[in-house]
């Protein structure tokens, strides 16, 4: 299920990537940036041209105004000077004086406004000469008139030099004005041209900008629609998955409950069956006893042998049923886990086996053992079974040697478990067994030897495994024939109370 989810995620990612590769986005962005940069440069240049043009036009208008002012002033001075000559009235000289006071200023301004244009500069140079001459001529005439030398003044006027100068000045002014007007029209044409270009550029820029915006919007819209679609697909896939997980969990819970119930029933069955089975067996043995005691004469040797075999079989069956009972009691009659000192457990086991140990001359070495959370009685059963086995299966003509080693604070073999574990090893130097039987010996009623060789029902190791597994640990065996056997027990040192399965799944059902 998990894998399915991951695969789905990758699939969606690939779909998005296939639709719009990154390079296309980058190229589109580069094109947009280039376009806007070029448009900006062109627009700036056009604006610059227009600004220059405006300056030129202003200059032209200023120049034309200056030309007109100069012309008017000179004409006013001319007529003023003539009036003075005719009337000798100083009042007539007023405009003349006015002109003298502004003419230099006007010339300076004109020089400035024509300085940028070489033709106008040339015209201006001649104009300045003529104007200076004209002003000089007028000053001479006015000076002569002031001194009452009217004749000399008239003679001077009659030279027509003044009129010629005036004509030349007018001529120059007309030409200069002409020049300025020409430049004005030229500027106007350039301005018009530029305006057209700017208009075109603006239209183009706006058009392309609009197209780009639309493109971006469309792509974004299409993508967001696609993303929304994918999201909703993902959401529905998740919902489906969650539902499936829910259904699975439900099924698992049911299955687990069923399993627990059937386990419980089986254990109860084993308990009740083994208890009830003892009843008829007790009778068989009791009446067997009666037969042996009351009718031994009638039975004869063969009959007595039959009854003895019957009794032996009944006894064995009784032992098997007892074992079955204790096996089922591992879970039906379990006690809670409490801190148990395994040294004390081992001590009591060795005490109980005192006679067997002395009898066999066994050598027993026990490491210091840890204190762990466990069911003390059950741990006693485990130690008892393992040590009894080692005492039982010693090599012929050899004393049993049992070594129990212990290692605490072992890292847990389980994932997500930070508890400390311990490892106990029960090693002997007995007859051992073939490696292929290392698992089989832990099965219920499995024996590797005939009853004639070694007694026992085959419950001991099965019981050990059931108890160790009830404690959440594991037990395994390694051996070779004649090389002794090593039984390894791994147990968590602390026990946590069992969580209900529902809590474990985080589901309320």
């Amino acid at each position: 299920m998990n894998n399915g989810l991951l695969d789905g995620g990758v699939l969606f990612n690939q779909k998005i990537t296939n639709r719009l590769p990154n390079s296309v986005w980058i190229m589109a962005l580069a094109a947009a940036i280039t376009f806007f940069a070029v448009s900006a440069v062109l627009a700036y240049r056009s604006i610059d041209v227009i600004t220059q043009n405006n300056i030129a036009i202003n200059n032209t208008l200023q120049t034309i105004n200056l030309i007109k002012d100069l012309n008017r002033e000179l004409l006013a001075a001319e007529s003023s000077q003539r009036g003075y000559l005719l009337t000798k009235d100083p009042e007539y000289l007023e405009p003349y004086r006015q002109t003298l006071s502004v003419v230099n200023k006007l010339l300076m301004q004109l020089a400035e406004s024509t300085a940028a244009f070489s033709e106008q500069k040339a015209y201006f140079a001649s104009l300045r000469g003529y104007v200076t001459d004209k002003v000089g001529e007028m000053q001479r005439i006015v000076a002569l008139t002031d001194r009452e030398e009217i004749r000399a003044a008239i003679k001077q006027v009659k030279t027509d030099k003044g009129i010629e100068l005036m004509r030349a000045i007018s001529q120059l002014l007309v030409e200069m004005e002409q020049q300025e007007l020409q430049r004005f029209y030229k500027s106007k044409a350039i301005a018009a041209e530029n305006r057209e270009f700017i208009l075109m550029a603006l239209l183009l820029a706006n058009g392309i900008g609009l197209a780009l915006s639309l493109g971006v919007f469309y792509t974004w819209y299409r993508n967001s629609t696609k993303v929304a679609e994918l999201n909703s697909a993902l959401a529905s896939a998740n919902a489906e998955l969650e539902e499936k997980v829910g259904v699975r969990t439900q099924a698992l819970l049911q299955y687990s409950e069923e399993l627990q119930r059937s386990n419980r029933e089986l254990e109860e069955f084993a308990f009740v069956a083994s208890h009830d089975l003892q009843e008829p067996l007790r009778k068989i043995r009791a009446f067997g006893d009666r037969l042996q005691q009351k009718f031994s004469a009638e039975l004869g040797e063969v009959g007595a042998d039959y009854v003895a075999r019957m009794q032996a079989a009944s006894e064995r069956m009784s032992a098997l049923i007892d074992d079955l009972l204790s096996f089922s009691r591992v879970t039906t009659k379990q006690r809670p886990f409490i801190a148990v000192d395994l040294n004390e457990i081992m001590h009591s086991v060795l005490d109980d086996l005192d006679f067997a140990i002395d009898d066999s001359g066994a050598q027993i070495h026990i490491d210091p053992l840890p204190v762990i959370d466990a069911d003390g009685l059950q741990m006693t059963q485990v130690f008892m079974n393992l040590i009894t086995n080692s005492l039982k299966f010693h090599l012929p003509d050899h004393r049993p040697v049992v070594t129990v080693t212990s290692e605490s604070n072992v890292v847990s073999p389980l994932a997500d478990d930070n508890r400390h574990w311990c490892r106990l090893q029960f090693a002997d130097q007995g007859i051992g067994f073939e490696a292929q039987y290392a698992e089989r010996i832990f099965s219920l009623f499995q024996r590797l030897h005939g009853r004639g060789e070694y007694s026992g029902t085959g419950i001991g190791l099965a019981l050990c495994r059931k108890i160790i597994e009830r404690h959440g640990g594991s037990i395994s065996a390694q051996s070779e024939p004649g090389e002794g056997a090593v039984f390894t027990i791994l147990l968590p040192m602390t026990q946590t109370p069992m969580e209900p399965l529902k809590d474990l799944f985080g589901y309320v059902t």
């Binding site: 009778k283 043995r285 006893d289 005691q293 009784s318």
Partner: protein, 147 residues
């Protein structure tokens, strides 16, 4: 103290015919001169003790000095019968020994709580049963003072 040789009347309540037979034989083997009477369930036991119907004749069915009680019986089981005996003023003084196959701890506790004098698991071998009958006879006849 009871004089030696005094006969103790034992009433055994057990639905198992085999157990009744074995008990009779064991009693015989034990050579203790006690009388053994039988009932097969709790209802019969109470009728016997109260002298109802056929049990009215105390020469045929004398009042017992000791009751051996099985726990698992039909009609009325040993637990209820024990409770009724111990709540009847004229019966409560009769000692009751539970003799059963059940070794369940709750049965044992319940039995003593209800007023059983002893709780004994049925012996597995016949010899053990004989020994039990002998001991019971001796104990209740020779050592125990009863009112």
């Amino acid at each position: 103290m009871n004089s030696p040789g005094k006969i103790l009347t034992i009433l055994m309540a057990d639905d198992d015919a085999d157990d009744r037979l074995l008990a009779r034989e064991a009693m015989h083997e034990s050579r203790v001169l006690n009388e053994l009477y039988f009932v097969e369930d709790g209802v019969q036991l109470l009728r016997y003790l109260r002298g109802e119907d056929e049990y009215a004749d105390r020469t045929l069915y004398p009042m017992p000095g000791l009751i051996l009680l099985d726990l698992n019986m039909p009609k009325m089981d040993g637990r209820e019968a024990l409770a009724q005996i111990k709540s009847a003023p004229d019966l409560r003084r009769i000692p009751v020994v539970i003799l059963t196959t059940s070794t369940a701890e709750e049965d044992m506790t319940k039995g003593y709580e209800l007023g059983a004098a002893s709780y004994i698991a049925k012996p597995v071998t016949f010899d053990a049963l004989v020994e039990l009958m002998r001991t019971l006879g001796k104990y209740w006849v020779e050592f125990v003072e009863l009112p």
